[in-house]
Symmetry: C2
Amino acid sequence: MSSKSEETRIRILQAAWKLLEANRGDGVRMSDIAKQAEVSRQAVYLHFSNRSDLLTATTLYIDKIKDIDARLAPSRNAENGILRLELFIDAWGRYISEIYPVAKALLAMQDTDEDAAAAWSGRMQALRHGCEAAIKALQKDGHLSSLFSHKEAVDMLWTILSIRNWEHLTQDCEWSLKKYLSKTKLLAHQLFVKQK
Amino acid sequence: MSSKSEETRIRILQAAWKLLEANRGDGVRMSDIAKQAEVSRQAVYLHFSNRSDLLTATTLYIDKIKDIDARLAPSRNAENGILRLELFIDAWGRYISEIYPVAKALLAMQDTDEDAAAAWSGRMQALRHGCEAAIKALQKDGHLSSLFSHKEAVDMLWTILSIRNWEHLTQDCEWSLKKYLSKTKLLAHQLFVKQK
DNA sequence: GTAAAACTTTACACGGTGTCAAGTTGGGGT
DNA sequence: ACCCCAACTTGACACCGTGTAAAGTTTTAC
């Protein structure tokens, strides 16, 4: 039997996930999560050293459940740079829409909590590597537009694909995910693919 | 004499501004601001009902001191849509770089404090109107690209010009303000101006 | 000169995080 | 069958920053 302890840990992660989802990432306290997991508040601290640790673990748990690596595979295996860029945007955009409530809670802690900031920064670096790979693939095919230098293009794409922009477009501007994806692809194409 | 009370109010605003500037918008408490203004913490609450009120007032104070309206005039008087768009980006980008520390503090409160959220939302609507005017000017000249519908173009420009993007590019990517401005203009041109 | 406004001082309530210490429960190993 | 240990509970508490309350003092305006 895979230790009772591990079971509890998972229950807490699921509770955090469920509550953040239900409350759009707002106003979920440690005690709420404990209650949802049917565990004492202190038990939560036996498994996670603090709130930022719990939230970070929750994102990793979601990654695992949703098998994020598998979703990125099509992009990595794309036959050309242009397709790779599109598939990357697709995978990332869909991922954000699932991780968003947890990400929002984690983002909200950034300014006060440096653990949260560090954890987040790590994940954003991973995104940047994805952007870099996409831009490189474009360059390799000779399709990278000459509007931006390599680094500029990576920085730009990284910025465009930020969770804040996803949030702004889908929440504030009320764009559907489908619209977000198609318009973002269009934007990236227009900016980074050399026009004939 | 323009009432002592008004003087104190201004001193508090200046104190808030100075401290936020010095601390990049992080970790500035009401008591710090009071101390800096050489006033009791409670005096601050006599002039501003709460933290979000104070921060909002601080941005308005900066607007006034830096004469933001005057800075936007060149954009409004531009002789064509393309120029108008560029001048708008210029004025706004430079504005962000001055308001940023205060804006950051205000943004950090968004998730918890609804006063702050409302105040911020109002300011962002003003930005959106500016974006809309710029896109309309482009449309009027027949220079608006057909990639996006009118609303989509406005939403996109609005998103691109967000403070979060400015922050990401200038802080995380370490772009200079000059670079931010030139690349953002280039991006906007590429996206919204009809290519010949 | 006086009343009202501005400001100070001290104290406290509240909400949320994180810590501490002592008690309880239940499963595994010998 | 026993005991032990790890997992968990319970209840109390410190801390931090915001905002409030009330009573006292100084300053301003007229």
